[in-house]
Amino acid sequence: MIGLPVAIRLALAAARELQNGEVCFVGIGNPSDAALLAKHSRAPELTLIFESGVVGSNPISKPPLSTGSPSVAEKATMITDGLAVFSELQAGRIDVGLLSAAQVDLFGNLNSTVIGSYNQPKIRMVGSGGAHDIACLVKRLIILMPHDPRRFLEKVDFITSPGLSDRRSDLKLPPGPVSLITERARFSFESGTAALSATMPGYSEEDAVEGLSWKVKKTPDFASIEKFGKKELEAARSCLQYLFN
Protein backbone atom coordinates (compact mmCIF):
# COMPACT_ATOMS: atom_id res chain seq x y z
CA MET A 1 0.00 0.00 0.00
CA ILE A 2 2.48 2.56 1.18
CA GLY A 3 4.49 1.70 -1.89
CA LEU A 4 1.82 3.22 -4.15
CA PRO A 5 2.21 6.80 -5.36
CA VAL A 6 0.63 9.41 -3.06
CA ALA A 7 -1.89 10.48 -5.69
CA ILE A 8 -3.13 6.89 -5.98
CA ARG A 9 -3.46 6.48 -2.25
CA LEU A 10 -5.31 9.77 -2.03
CA ALA A 11 -7.68 8.69 -4.78
CA LEU A 12 -8.28 5.31 -3.11
CA ALA A 13 -9.02 7.01 0.21
CA ALA A 14 -11.35 9.62 -1.30
CA ALA A 15 -13.20 7.12 -3.48
CA ARG A 16 -14.48 5.56 -0.26
CA GLU A 17 -16.49 8.72 0.37
CA LEU A 18 -18.63 8.23 -2.72
CA GLN A 19 -21.74 6.07 -2.77
CA ASN A 20 -23.18 4.19 -5.69
CA GLY A 21 -25.94 6.09 -7.46
CA GLU A 22 -24.76 9.50 -6.35
CA VAL A 23 -24.28 12.50 -8.60
CA CYS A 24 -20.83 13.97 -8.24
CA PHE A 25 -19.50 17.36 -9.38
CA VAL A 26 -15.88 16.83 -10.28
CA GLY A 27 -12.82 19.03 -10.70
CA ILE A 28 -9.61 18.08 -12.49
CA GLY A 29 -6.72 16.27 -10.76
CA ASN A 30 -7.10 14.42 -7.46
CA PRO A 31 -10.89 14.92 -7.53
CA SER A 32 -11.40 13.41 -10.98
CA ASP A 33 -8.98 10.58 -10.16
CA ALA A 34 -10.99 9.69 -7.05
CA ALA A 35 -14.34 9.92 -8.79
CA LEU A 36 -13.19 7.82 -11.73
CA LEU A 37 -11.73 5.22 -9.39
CA ALA A 38 -14.97 5.04 -7.42
CA LYS A 39 -16.98 4.64 -10.61
CA HIS A 40 -14.82 1.74 -11.70
CA SER A 41 -14.88 -0.05 -8.37
CA ARG A 42 -17.45 0.49 -5.67
CA ALA A 43 -19.84 2.93 -7.31
CA PRO A 44 -20.46 1.95 -10.95
CA GLU A 45 -23.61 4.08 -11.09
CA LEU A 46 -21.88 7.25 -9.97
CA THR A 47 -22.79 10.13 -12.31
CA LEU A 48 -19.82 12.39 -13.02
CA ILE A 49 -20.56 16.03 -13.87
CA PHE A 50 -17.95 18.52 -15.06
CA GLU A 51 -18.44 22.28 -14.98
CA SER A 52 -17.82 22.39 -18.73
CA GLY A 53 -21.37 21.11 -19.10
CA VAL A 54 -20.63 17.41 -19.46
CA VAL A 55 -22.90 14.96 -17.62
CA GLY A 56 -22.42 11.21 -17.32
CA SER A 57 -18.75 11.50 -18.16
CA ASN A 58 -16.33 8.60 -17.98
CA PRO A 59 -12.89 9.93 -18.94
CA ILE A 60 -10.95 6.69 -19.01
CA SER A 61 -9.14 7.01 -22.34
CA LYS A 62 -6.78 9.71 -21.09
CA PRO A 63 -6.62 11.75 -17.89
CA PRO A 64 -8.21 15.10 -18.78
CA LEU A 65 -6.15 18.25 -18.24
CA SER A 66 -9.17 20.52 -18.60
CA THR A 67 -12.81 19.98 -17.67
CA GLY A 68 -13.35 20.57 -21.38
CA SER A 69 -10.80 17.99 -22.56
CA PRO A 70 -11.72 15.39 -25.19
CA SER A 71 -11.81 12.46 -22.75
CA VAL A 72 -14.37 14.29 -20.60
CA ALA A 73 -16.72 14.53 -23.58
CA GLU A 74 -15.96 11.10 -25.02
CA LYS A 75 -18.80 8.65 -24.33
CA ALA A 76 -20.58 11.20 -22.15
CA THR A 77 -24.34 10.71 -22.04
CA MET A 78 -25.09 14.44 -22.14
CA ILE A 79 -23.33 17.61 -23.23
CA THR A 80 -25.05 20.79 -22.16
CA ASP A 81 -23.68 24.15 -21.06
CA GLY A 82 -22.04 25.46 -17.91
CA LEU A 83 -25.13 27.35 -16.82
CA ALA A 84 -27.14 24.13 -16.82
CA VAL A 85 -24.77 22.22 -14.56
CA PHE A 86 -24.13 25.10 -12.16
CA SER A 87 -27.91 25.51 -11.99
CA GLU A 88 -28.20 21.89 -10.92
CA LEU A 89 -25.68 22.67 -8.21
CA GLN A 90 -27.47 25.81 -7.02
CA ALA A 91 -30.83 24.05 -6.99
CA GLY A 92 -29.42 21.48 -4.58
CA ARG A 93 -29.56 18.56 -6.99
CA ILE A 94 -25.91 17.48 -6.80
CA ASP A 95 -25.12 15.03 -4.02
CA VAL A 96 -21.42 15.44 -3.62
CA GLY A 97 -18.49 17.54 -4.75
CA LEU A 98 -14.75 16.92 -4.55
CA LEU A 99 -12.27 19.77 -4.20
CA SER A 100 -8.58 20.22 -3.67
CA ALA A 101 -6.68 23.46 -3.09
CA ALA A 102 -3.29 24.93 -2.21
CA GLN A 103 -4.25 25.51 1.43
CA VAL A 104 -6.87 24.24 3.84
CA ASP A 105 -7.69 25.29 7.38
CA LEU A 106 -9.36 23.71 10.41
CA PHE A 107 -12.79 24.86 9.26
CA GLY A 108 -12.39 23.49 5.78
CA ASN A 109 -11.82 26.87 4.17
CA LEU A 110 -9.82 26.47 0.95
CA ASN A 111 -7.40 28.81 -0.79
CA SER A 112 -6.49 28.64 -4.45
CA THR A 113 -6.11 32.38 -5.04
CA VAL A 114 -2.98 33.81 -3.42
CA ILE A 115 -0.14 32.95 -1.08
CA GLY A 116 0.45 36.12 0.92
CA SER A 117 -1.86 39.11 0.70
CA TYR A 118 -4.44 39.58 -2.05
CA ASN A 119 -2.95 42.78 -3.37
CA GLN A 120 0.72 42.00 -2.97
CA PRO A 121 0.86 38.26 -3.17
CA LYS A 122 3.95 36.17 -2.77
CA ILE A 123 2.43 33.75 -5.24
CA ARG A 124 -0.53 34.54 -7.38
CA MET A 125 -2.41 31.32 -8.13
CA VAL A 126 -5.22 30.38 -10.51
CA GLY A 127 -8.22 31.61 -8.52
CA SER A 128 -11.51 29.91 -7.79
CA GLY A 129 -12.59 28.34 -11.04
CA GLY A 130 -15.73 26.51 -9.98
CA ALA A 131 -14.36 25.69 -6.53
CA HIS A 132 -16.07 28.53 -4.64
CA ASP A 133 -19.36 27.64 -6.29
CA ILE A 134 -19.09 23.96 -5.46
CA ALA A 135 -18.06 24.71 -1.86
CA CYS A 136 -21.06 27.00 -1.40
CA LEU A 137 -23.67 24.89 -3.11
CA VAL A 138 -23.01 21.17 -3.12
CA LYS A 139 -24.91 19.01 -0.63
CA ARG A 140 -21.83 17.19 0.64
CA LEU A 141 -18.32 18.52 0.13
CA ILE A 142 -15.27 16.26 0.29
CA ILE A 143 -11.86 17.92 0.47
CA LEU A 144 -8.80 16.12 -0.90
CA MET A 145 -5.31 17.17 0.20
CA PRO A 146 -2.02 15.35 0.02
CA HIS A 147 -0.49 15.18 3.50
CA ASP A 148 1.77 18.25 3.18
CA PRO A 149 1.83 20.09 6.53
CA ARG A 150 2.73 23.47 4.96
CA ARG A 151 -0.65 23.43 3.28
CA PHE A 152 -2.62 22.79 6.50
CA LEU A 153 -3.01 26.16 8.24
CA GLU A 154 -4.86 27.58 11.22
CA LYS A 155 -6.22 30.13 8.82
CA VAL A 156 -5.77 30.15 5.07
CA ASP A 157 -4.26 33.28 3.50
CA PHE A 158 -7.41 33.85 1.45
CA ILE A 159 -10.77 32.07 1.58
CA THR A 160 -11.48 31.18 -2.03
CA SER A 161 -13.95 28.42 -1.17
CA PRO A 162 -15.79 28.71 2.12
CA GLY A 163 -15.76 25.92 4.70
CA LEU A 164 -17.98 25.71 7.75
CA SER A 165 -19.77 28.93 8.66
CA ASP A 166 -22.52 30.02 11.03
CA ARG A 167 -23.98 32.06 8.20
CA ARG A 168 -24.69 29.07 5.98
CA SER A 169 -28.10 28.27 7.41
CA ASP A 170 -29.21 31.91 7.22
CA LEU A 171 -28.19 31.94 3.58
CA LYS A 172 -29.96 28.62 3.00
CA LEU A 173 -26.71 27.04 1.90
CA PRO A 174 -25.86 23.40 2.62
CA PRO A 175 -23.55 22.77 5.60
CA GLY A 176 -20.32 22.62 3.61
CA PRO A 177 -17.36 20.27 4.07
CA VAL A 178 -18.09 16.85 5.48
CA SER A 179 -14.64 15.34 5.35
CA LEU A 180 -11.03 16.07 4.52
CA ILE A 181 -9.17 13.17 3.00
CA THR A 182 -5.42 12.76 2.87
CA GLU A 183 -3.54 9.66 1.83
CA ARG A 184 -3.01 9.05 5.53
CA ALA A 185 -6.32 9.84 7.17
CA ARG A 186 -9.90 11.00 7.10
CA PHE A 187 -10.88 14.09 9.07
CA SER A 188 -14.53 14.78 9.81
CA PHE A 189 -16.07 18.25 10.18
CA GLU A 190 -19.07 17.04 12.15
CA SER A 191 -17.98 18.66 15.40
CA GLY A 192 -17.25 22.10 13.91
CA THR A 193 -13.57 21.68 13.10
CA ALA A 194 -11.53 18.98 11.41
CA ALA A 195 -11.37 15.96 13.73
CA LEU A 196 -9.54 12.72 13.04
CA SER A 197 -12.16 10.10 12.23
CA ALA A 198 -10.08 7.38 10.58
CA THR A 199 -6.61 6.39 9.51
CA MET A 200 -5.88 4.89 6.13
CA PRO A 201 -4.47 1.39 5.81
CA GLY A 202 -0.81 1.36 6.83
CA TYR A 203 -0.90 4.64 8.76
CA SER A 204 -1.01 5.29 12.50
CA GLU A 205 -2.72 8.13 14.32
CA GLU A 206 0.68 9.79 14.65
CA ASP A 207 1.28 9.53 10.91
CA ALA A 208 -2.12 11.08 10.31
CA VAL A 209 -1.26 14.33 12.04
CA GLU A 210 2.51 14.31 11.59
CA GLY A 211 3.81 17.85 11.28
CA LEU A 212 0.36 19.48 11.36
CA SER A 213 0.08 22.63 13.46
CA TRP A 214 -3.59 21.76 14.03
CA LYS A 215 -4.81 20.66 17.39
CA VAL A 216 -6.90 17.79 16.14
CA LYS A 217 -9.45 15.97 18.24
CA LYS A 218 -10.53 12.40 17.54
CA THR A 219 -14.15 11.67 16.70
CA PRO A 220 -16.05 9.29 19.00
CA ASP A 221 -16.39 6.82 16.14
CA PHE A 222 -12.70 6.91 15.27
CA ALA A 223 -11.55 3.79 13.39
CA SER A 224 -8.97 2.45 11.04
CA ILE A 225 -10.20 2.18 7.48
CA GLU A 226 -10.20 -1.36 6.25
CA LYS A 227 -7.69 -2.28 3.59
CA PHE A 228 -8.41 -1.39 0.02
CA GLY A 229 -9.79 -4.40 -1.78
CA LYS A 230 -8.58 -6.11 -4.90
CA LYS A 231 -11.24 -4.45 -7.03
CA GLU A 232 -10.23 -0.97 -5.89
CA LEU A 233 -6.55 -1.63 -6.50
CA GLU A 234 -7.22 -3.10 -9.90
CA ALA A 235 -9.38 -0.13 -10.83
CA ALA A 236 -6.60 2.18 -9.71
CA ARG A 237 -4.14 0.35 -11.94
CA SER A 238 -6.39 0.48 -14.96
CA CYS A 239 -8.02 3.92 -14.63
CA LEU A 240 -5.15 5.84 -13.07
CA GLN A 241 -2.30 4.15 -14.82
CA TYR A 242 -0.74 7.48 -15.68
CA LEU A 243 -0.04 8.13 -12.01
CA PHE A 244 2.22 5.11 -11.82
CA ASN A 245 4.78 6.57 -14.22
Binding site: S66, G68, S69, F86, Y118, N119, V126, G127, L137, L171
Partner: protein
Protein backbone atom coordinates in the same frame (compact mmCIF):
# COMPACT_ATOMS: atom_id res chain seq x y z
CA UNK B 1 -25.88 38.88 -46.27
CA UNK B 2 -22.41 37.55 -46.87
CA UNK B 3 -20.42 37.93 -43.65
CA UNK B 4 -17.41 35.92 -44.71
CA UNK B 5 -14.05 37.67 -44.47
CA UNK B 6 -10.36 37.06 -43.90
CA UNK B 7 -9.19 36.52 -40.33
CA UNK B 8 -6.94 39.59 -40.56
CA UNK B 9 -9.95 41.72 -41.54
CA UNK B 10 -11.96 40.39 -38.62
CA UNK B 11 -9.38 41.74 -36.19
CA UNK B 12 -8.51 44.89 -38.12
CA UNK B 13 -12.07 46.05 -38.62
CA UNK B 14 -13.80 44.88 -35.50
CA UNK B 15 -11.35 44.81 -32.59
CA UNK B 16 -10.47 48.20 -31.14
CA UNK B 17 -7.85 49.10 -28.58
CA UNK B 18 -9.52 49.31 -25.19
CA UNK B 19 -12.30 46.83 -26.02
CA UNK B 20 -13.66 44.32 -23.56
CA UNK B 21 -13.22 40.94 -25.22
CA UNK B 22 -14.97 37.70 -24.42
CA UNK B 23 -12.68 34.84 -25.38
CA UNK B 24 -14.66 31.72 -26.29
CA UNK B 25 -13.58 28.13 -25.80
CA UNK B 26 -13.97 26.11 -22.62
CA UNK B 27 -11.04 23.73 -23.19
CA UNK B 28 -12.73 22.99 -26.51
CA UNK B 29 -12.55 25.28 -29.58
CA UNK B 30 -10.34 27.90 -27.94
CA UNK B 31 -9.87 30.71 -30.53
CA UNK B 32 -6.08 30.61 -30.72
CA UNK B 33 -5.75 31.76 -34.34
CA UNK B 34 -7.95 34.81 -33.73
CA UNK B 35 -6.06 35.81 -30.59
CA UNK B 36 -2.66 35.24 -32.19
CA UNK B 37 -3.79 37.58 -34.97
CA UNK B 38 -4.76 40.15 -32.32
CA UNK B 39 -1.26 39.88 -30.90
CA UNK B 40 0.31 40.17 -34.34
CA UNK B 41 -1.70 43.31 -35.05
CA UNK B 42 -0.49 44.78 -31.77
CA UNK B 43 -3.86 45.66 -30.27
CA UNK B 44 -3.56 47.35 -26.90
CA UNK B 45 -5.30 47.87 -23.61
CA UNK B 46 -7.78 45.03 -24.00
CA UNK B 47 -9.89 43.73 -21.15
CA UNK B 48 -10.19 39.96 -21.45
CA UNK B 49 -13.01 38.05 -19.81
CA UNK B 50 -14.41 34.58 -19.45
CA UNK B 51 -14.99 31.92 -16.75
CA UNK B 52 -12.22 29.31 -16.90
CA UNK B 53 -9.41 30.48 -19.15
CA UNK B 54 -6.97 28.57 -21.28
CA UNK B 55 -3.28 29.45 -21.66
CA UNK B 56 -4.44 31.91 -24.30
CA UNK B 57 -5.14 34.46 -21.57
CA UNK B 58 -1.68 34.01 -20.15
CA UNK B 59 -0.15 34.34 -23.61
CA UNK B 60 -2.08 37.55 -24.29
CA UNK B 61 -1.03 38.97 -20.93
CA UNK B 62 2.56 38.01 -21.73
CA UNK B 63 2.32 39.62 -25.15
CA UNK B 64 1.17 42.86 -23.60
CA UNK B 65 -2.16 43.22 -25.38
CA UNK B 66 -4.26 42.92 -22.20
CA UNK B 67 -4.34 45.52 -19.47
CA UNK B 68 -7.13 43.88 -17.47
CA UNK B 69 -8.55 40.42 -16.93
CA UNK B 70 -11.93 39.41 -15.50
CA UNK B 71 -12.11 35.69 -14.85
CA UNK B 72 -13.05 32.69 -12.74
CA UNK B 73 -9.85 30.72 -13.27
CA UNK B 74 -6.64 31.87 -14.91
CA UNK B 75 -3.87 29.35 -15.44
CA UNK B 76 -2.79 26.36 -17.47
CA UNK B 77 -5.62 23.85 -16.96
CA UNK B 78 -4.56 20.71 -15.13
CA UNK B 79 -0.92 21.73 -15.31
CA UNK B 80 -0.32 24.80 -13.18
CA UNK B 81 -0.12 28.52 -12.79
CA UNK B 82 -0.38 31.18 -15.45
CA UNK B 83 3.20 32.35 -15.35
CA UNK B 84 2.77 35.64 -17.21
CA UNK B 85 -0.33 36.40 -15.15
CA UNK B 86 1.54 35.62 -11.96
CA UNK B 87 4.43 37.89 -12.88
CA UNK B 88 2.12 40.70 -13.95
CA UNK B 89 0.08 40.53 -10.73
CA UNK B 90 3.11 40.32 -8.54
CA UNK B 91 4.70 43.26 -10.42
CA UNK B 92 1.49 45.26 -10.23
CA UNK B 93 1.32 45.84 -13.98
CA UNK B 94 -2.10 44.26 -14.59
CA UNK B 95 -5.61 45.04 -13.39
CA UNK B 96 -7.60 41.96 -12.49
CA UNK B 97 -10.95 40.91 -11.09
CA UNK B 98 -11.34 37.54 -9.38
CA UNK B 99 -14.78 36.03 -9.85
CA UNK B 100 -15.77 32.36 -9.98
CA UNK B 101 -16.65 30.23 -12.99
CA UNK B 102 -20.32 30.19 -12.08
CA UNK B 103 -20.52 33.90 -11.37
CA UNK B 104 -18.81 34.70 -14.69
CA UNK B 105 -21.36 32.54 -16.48
CA UNK B 106 -24.16 34.34 -14.64
CA UNK B 107 -22.65 37.72 -15.57
CA UNK B 108 -22.81 36.77 -19.23
CA UNK B 109 -26.23 35.18 -18.84
CA UNK B 110 -27.60 38.40 -17.36
CA UNK B 111 -26.26 40.34 -20.34
CA UNK B 112 -27.60 37.74 -22.73
CA UNK B 113 -31.04 38.12 -21.14
CA UNK B 114 -30.83 41.91 -21.22
CA UNK B 115 -31.13 42.40 -17.46
CA UNK B 116 -28.65 44.22 -15.16
CA UNK B 117 -28.08 41.33 -12.74
CA UNK B 118 -28.99 37.78 -11.81
CA UNK B 119 -29.63 36.74 -8.21
CA UNK B 120 -27.54 33.86 -6.88
CA UNK B 121 -26.57 32.07 -3.70
CA UNK B 122 -22.81 32.25 -4.21
CA UNK B 123 -20.33 35.03 -3.32
CA UNK B 124 -21.84 35.66 0.10
CA UNK B 125 -19.19 33.72 2.04
CA UNK B 126 -15.41 33.74 1.74
CA UNK B 127 -13.01 36.43 0.57
CA UNK B 128 -13.66 36.75 -3.17
CA UNK B 129 -16.27 39.41 -2.47
CA UNK B 130 -15.08 40.83 0.83
CA UNK B 131 -15.25 44.56 1.38
CA UNK B 132 -12.57 44.36 4.08
CA UNK B 133 -9.97 43.07 1.61
CA UNK B 134 -9.06 45.91 -0.74
CA UNK B 135 -9.02 45.03 -4.41
CA UNK B 136 -11.53 42.21 -4.19
CA UNK B 137 -14.80 42.61 -6.04
CA UNK B 138 -17.87 44.20 -4.55
CA UNK B 139 -21.11 42.29 -4.95
CA UNK B 140 -24.38 43.86 -3.83
CA UNK B 141 -26.96 41.77 -2.03
CA UNK B 142 -30.74 41.97 -1.87
CA UNK B 143 -33.50 40.43 0.19
CA UNK B 144 -35.79 38.40 -2.02
CA UNK B 145 -39.16 40.20 -2.14
CA UNK B 146 -40.95 36.85 -1.96
CA UNK B 147 -38.93 34.70 0.44
CA UNK B 148 -36.79 37.30 2.27
CA UNK B 149 -33.70 35.19 1.58
CA UNK B 150 -30.49 37.14 1.14
CA UNK B 151 -29.13 36.78 -2.38
CA UNK B 152 -26.04 38.04 -4.17
CA UNK B 153 -26.72 40.20 -7.24
CA UNK B 154 -24.32 39.07 -9.95
CA UNK B 155 -23.94 42.07 -12.26
CA UNK B 156 -24.29 41.71 -16.04
CA UNK B 157 -21.13 41.85 -18.11
CA UNK B 158 -21.63 42.78 -21.75
CA UNK B 159 -18.41 42.44 -23.75
CA UNK B 160 -17.80 44.62 -26.79
CA UNK B 161 -16.54 41.71 -28.83
CA UNK B 162 -16.73 37.92 -28.56
CA UNK B 163 -14.18 35.65 -30.21
CA UNK B 164 -15.41 32.18 -31.13
CA UNK B 165 -14.01 29.21 -33.00
CA UNK B 166 -16.46 26.54 -34.15
CA UNK B 167 -16.93 23.66 -36.56
CA UNK B 168 -18.78 25.22 -39.45
CA UNK B 169 -20.82 28.13 -40.67
CA UNK B 170 -22.57 29.22 -43.80
CA UNK B 171 -21.36 32.48 -45.32
CA UNK B 172 -24.22 34.38 -43.80
CA UNK B 173 -22.96 33.41 -40.35
CA UNK B 174 -25.08 30.59 -38.96
CA UNK B 175 -22.44 29.04 -36.73
CA UNK B 176 -22.55 25.39 -35.66
CA UNK B 177 -20.69 23.38 -33.05
CA UNK B 178 -20.90 20.02 -31.31
CA UNK B 179 -19.06 19.01 -28.17
CA UNK B 180 -18.09 20.87 -25.02
CA UNK B 181 -19.76 24.23 -24.65
CA UNK B 182 -19.09 25.67 -21.18
CA UNK B 183 -19.83 29.40 -21.32
CA UNK B 184 -18.84 29.74 -24.96
CA UNK B 185 -22.22 30.77 -26.31
CA UNK B 186 -23.58 32.37 -23.17
CA UNK B 187 -20.64 34.77 -23.45
CA UNK B 188 -20.87 35.15 -27.21
CA UNK B 189 -24.59 35.90 -27.23
CA UNK B 190 -24.05 38.40 -24.40
CA UNK B 191 -21.62 40.40 -26.55
CA UNK B 192 -22.21 43.34 -28.84
CA UNK B 193 -20.16 41.95 -31.75
CA UNK B 194 -19.32 38.31 -32.46
CA UNK B 195 -16.25 37.38 -34.51
CA UNK B 196 -16.05 33.79 -35.62
CA UNK B 197 -13.53 31.45 -37.16
CA UNK B 198 -14.68 28.03 -38.37
CA UNK B 199 -13.02 24.91 -39.65
CA UNK B 200 -15.02 25.19 -42.85
CA UNK B 201 -17.80 26.94 -44.68
CA UNK B 202 -20.83 24.88 -45.64
CA UNK B 203 -24.01 25.62 -47.57
CA UNK B 204 -27.06 26.83 -45.70
CA UNK B 205 -28.76 23.58 -46.72
CA UNK B 206 -26.22 21.73 -44.61
CA UNK B 207 -26.96 24.02 -41.64
CA UNK B 208 -30.66 23.17 -41.83
CA UNK B 209 -29.90 19.45 -41.49
CA UNK B 210 -29.09 19.89 -37.79
CA UNK B 211 -30.46 23.31 -36.79
CA UNK B 212 -30.03 22.30 -33.11
CA UNK B 213 -26.26 22.57 -33.63
CA UNK B 214 -26.54 26.24 -34.61
CA UNK B 215 -25.25 28.23 -31.66
CA UNK B 216 -25.05 31.71 -33.17
CA UNK B 217 -27.74 32.83 -35.62
CA UNK B 218 -26.57 34.70 -38.70
CA UNK B 219 -28.03 38.04 -37.60
CA UNK B 220 -25.80 38.04 -34.50
CA UNK B 221 -22.57 37.14 -36.32
CA UNK B 222 -20.48 40.19 -37.15
CA UNK B 223 -18.03 38.42 -39.47
CA UNK B 224 -16.76 34.89 -40.02
CA UNK B 225 -13.54 33.48 -41.48
CA UNK B 226 -12.71 29.92 -42.51
CA UNK B 227 -9.57 29.03 -40.53
CA UNK B 228 -8.88 25.28 -40.40
CA UNK B 229 -6.95 24.35 -37.26
CA UNK B 230 -7.96 27.70 -35.81
CA UNK B 231 -8.25 26.19 -32.33
CA UNK B 232 -4.86 24.46 -32.18
CA UNK B 233 -3.37 23.58 -29.63
CA UNK B 234 -6.87 23.12 -28.20
CA UNK B 235 -9.17 20.79 -30.10
CA UNK B 236 -12.28 20.55 -32.23
CA UNK B 237 -14.57 17.62 -31.43
CA UNK B 238 -14.49 15.09 -34.26
CA UNK B 239 -11.91 17.10 -36.25
CA UNK B 240 -8.64 17.06 -34.32
CA UNK B 241 -7.42 16.17 -30.83
CA UNK B 242 -5.98 18.37 -28.11
CA UNK B 243 -2.24 18.98 -28.34
CA UNK B 244 -1.54 18.42 -24.63
CA UNK B 245 2.23 18.52 -25.25
CA UNK B 246 1.99 22.16 -26.28
CA UNK B 247 0.39 23.00 -22.95
CA UNK B 248 3.21 21.27 -21.08
CA UNK B 249 5.74 23.04 -23.29
CA UNK B 250 4.16 26.41 -22.54
CA UNK B 251 4.31 25.63 -18.84
CA UNK B 252 8.05 24.97 -19.08
CA UNK B 253 8.91 27.84 -21.38
CA UNK B 254 6.81 30.63 -19.89
CA UNK B 255 8.33 30.25 -16.42
CA UNK B 256 10.63 33.18 -17.14
CA UNK B 257 10.30 36.23 -19.33
CA UNK B 258 12.93 35.10 -21.82
CA UNK B 259 11.29 31.74 -22.30
CA UNK B 260 7.94 33.37 -22.83
CA UNK B 261 9.41 35.73 -25.40
CA UNK B 262 10.95 32.80 -27.27
CA UNK B 263 7.54 31.18 -27.25
CA UNK B 264 5.84 34.30 -28.63
CA UNK B 265 8.47 34.70 -31.33
CA UNK B 266 8.34 31.10 -32.37
CA UNK B 267 4.60 30.70 -32.57
CA UNK B 268 3.33 34.22 -33.24
CA UNK B 269 5.77 36.93 -34.30
CA UNK B 270 7.84 34.72 -36.59
CA UNK B 271 4.68 33.41 -38.24
CA UNK B 272 3.30 35.98 -40.65
CA UNK B 273 -0.11 34.35 -40.51
CA UNK B 274 -1.98 31.22 -39.53
CA UNK B 275 -0.60 29.18 -42.44
CA UNK B 276 2.91 29.97 -41.32
CA UNK B 277 1.90 28.91 -37.81
CA UNK B 278 0.65 25.58 -39.12
CA UNK B 279 3.93 25.09 -40.99
CA UNK B 280 5.76 25.71 -37.71
CA UNK B 281 3.61 23.07 -36.00
CA UNK B 282 4.39 20.69 -38.83
CA UNK B 283 2.30 18.37 -40.93
CA UNK B 284 3.43 15.32 -39.00
CA UNK B 285 2.11 16.63 -35.72
CA UNK B 286 -1.15 17.76 -37.29
CA UNK B 287 -1.65 14.29 -38.74
CA UNK B 288 -1.21 12.75 -35.30
CA UNK B 289 -3.79 15.11 -33.85
CA UNK B 290 -6.21 14.35 -36.66
CA UNK B 291 -5.84 10.66 -35.85
CA UNK B 292 -6.70 11.38 -32.22
CA UNK B 293 -10.01 13.07 -33.02
CA UNK B 294 -13.17 11.37 -31.84
CA UNK B 295 -15.18 9.63 -34.57
CA UNK B 296 -18.06 12.08 -34.47
CA UNK B 297 -19.44 14.10 -37.36
CA UNK B 298 -21.61 17.17 -37.16
CA UNK B 299 -24.94 17.21 -39.01
Amino acid sequence: MDKSAEISDLVEEHVNDGDTIFVGGFGHCVPFALCFEIIRQGKRDLTLCRSGTDILFDIMIGAGVASKVIFGYLGNPGIGLGHAFRRAVEAGTLTYEDWTNMSMILRFEAARQGIPFLPARILQLGDIANASIPGTIEVKTIDCPYTSEKLACIPALKPDVALVHAHQSDRSGNVQLIGVDGDMFTGALASEKILVTVERFVDTARITRLPEATRIPAYRTTAVAAVPWGAHPSYVEGVYGRDDDQYFAYDREARNVEGLEDYLRRWIYNCANHSAYLNAVGKKRLNVLEEQASRREIG
